[in-house]
């Protein structure tokens, strides 16, 4: 299995979605290929970093003018 194939199926490997024999081939390749290990580590880190952005500003209050616009729009709906 080449590095190209490892990277193509990396998500399936990390999701534990590969057949057992292919999973073993993957693990074997990763054990001897530091370049693919680096890619896998930074790929996983990328997913974590993306997820961390998700919660970064959730605590921000909604601006008052947006609240006013929403309440005005819903008043119009109910009239």
């Amino acid at each position: 299995m080449t590095c190209c194939e490892i990277i193509e199926f990396l998500m399936a490997y990390l999701d534990d979605a590969l057949p057992r024999d292919q999973q073993a081939v993957f693990t074997g390749h990763l054990a001897v290929c530091p370049e693919c290990r680096n890619f896998m580590d930074t790929y996983r880190e990328t997913v974590k970093l993306g997820a961390s952005v998700g919660s970064a500003h959730d605590a921000e209050a909604i601006p008052a003018e947006v609240v006013s616009a929403i309440l005005q729009a819903t008043r119009e709906v109910s009239e």
């Binding site: 190209c4 194939e5 930074t42 880190e45 990328t46 970093l49 947006v66 008043r75």
Partner: protein, 261 residues
């Protein structure tokens, strides 16, 4: 094992433990963007709890984990104006953040949130309480944002191909990466990476960015994402993997000392 004051130090909803690489890794405790622990987290817990450190997190005592107030729900179903204003103020900030992650322009994000609350207002009398209000609103705002995304003209974008790894004829990587994952952890804890990562995500072509946001940031599963985008689950998986690789490339540029672009 997992009460409100005792949660594993390293939880992220939906992401399989193999992907997170628990050993020696610190991840912020988080609930999903609708303020709940995702079911997937609970599924992962038996695996993780045996060797994970635990930490007390008083913030999880908040209403995020509590059930909806039945009286509030009843008032909302009756379209009580005060109750609705409370709903907007309590959930609006989080929903605006969700819309911002899907829409590049602030005005579009605000419009999507307004559209979402108007849709919710119309539908409240039929709200049956089968899901949490926060979950219900989360889905409504994502729907509104995706509608907005379809309506507006697409901007010129870079090709995803330019951001995917390149290979030599023998199958080896043409530009093997450094391993910056540990450095990223340190910078993440110092709060230095949020802006960099957000900007890098914005650089992704829209079809890929949308999948990445829905799956990795908003925590929706492949099936729901496919339904929303009206594509097959295989397409979602392919786009997600390519989006992650492209984002990894942009972050690689950053960690090598260049601009994420």
């Amino acid at each position: 094992m997992f009460g409100r004051t005792c949660v594993p130090l390293a939880i992220h909803h939906r992401i399989p433990p193999a992907l997170l690489g628990w050993t020696g890794t610190t991840v912020r405790v988080r609930v999903n963007h609708v303020g709940e622990m995702d079911r997937a987290v609970f599924r992962c817990l038996p695996v993780m709890c045996s060797d994970m450190p635990f930490v007390s997190d008083p913030s999880l005592e908040s209403s995020q984990l509590a059930a909806d107030d039945p009286e509030l729900v009843a008032r909302l179903r009756a379209r009580d104006a005060q109750a609705f204003a409370r709903l907007v103020n309590e959930h609006g900030g989080r929903l605006l953040s969700v819309a911002r992650r899907l829409l590049a322009h602030e005005e579009d994000a605000r419009d999507a949130v307004q559209d979402a609350f108007v849709s919710a207002f119309r539908a409240l009398p039929t709200f049956e309480g089968q899901s949490r209000l926060s979950t219900w609103l989360h889905r409504i705002v994502v729907n509104a944002a995706l509608m907005k995304l379809r309506q507006r003209r697409r901007r010129p974008e870079c090709s995803i191909e330019d951001l995917l790894p390149k290979f030599l004829p023998d199958g080896h990587q043409a530009d093997p990466p450094d391993n910056w994952s540990a450095e990223a952890e340190t910078r993440l804890l110092r709060g230095e990476l949020q802006v960099v990562v957000r900007r890098a995500i914005e650089e992704l072509p829209e079809a890929y960015r949308t999948v990445l946001v829905l799956r990795d940031l908003e925590g929706f599963d492949t099936e729901q994402t496919a339904r929303w985008l009206e594509v097959g689950e295989g397409v979602v998986k392919t786009r997600l993997h390519r989006a992650r690789q492209a984002l990894r490339t942009l972050l690689d540029h950053y960690f090598r000392g260049g601009d994420p672009k």
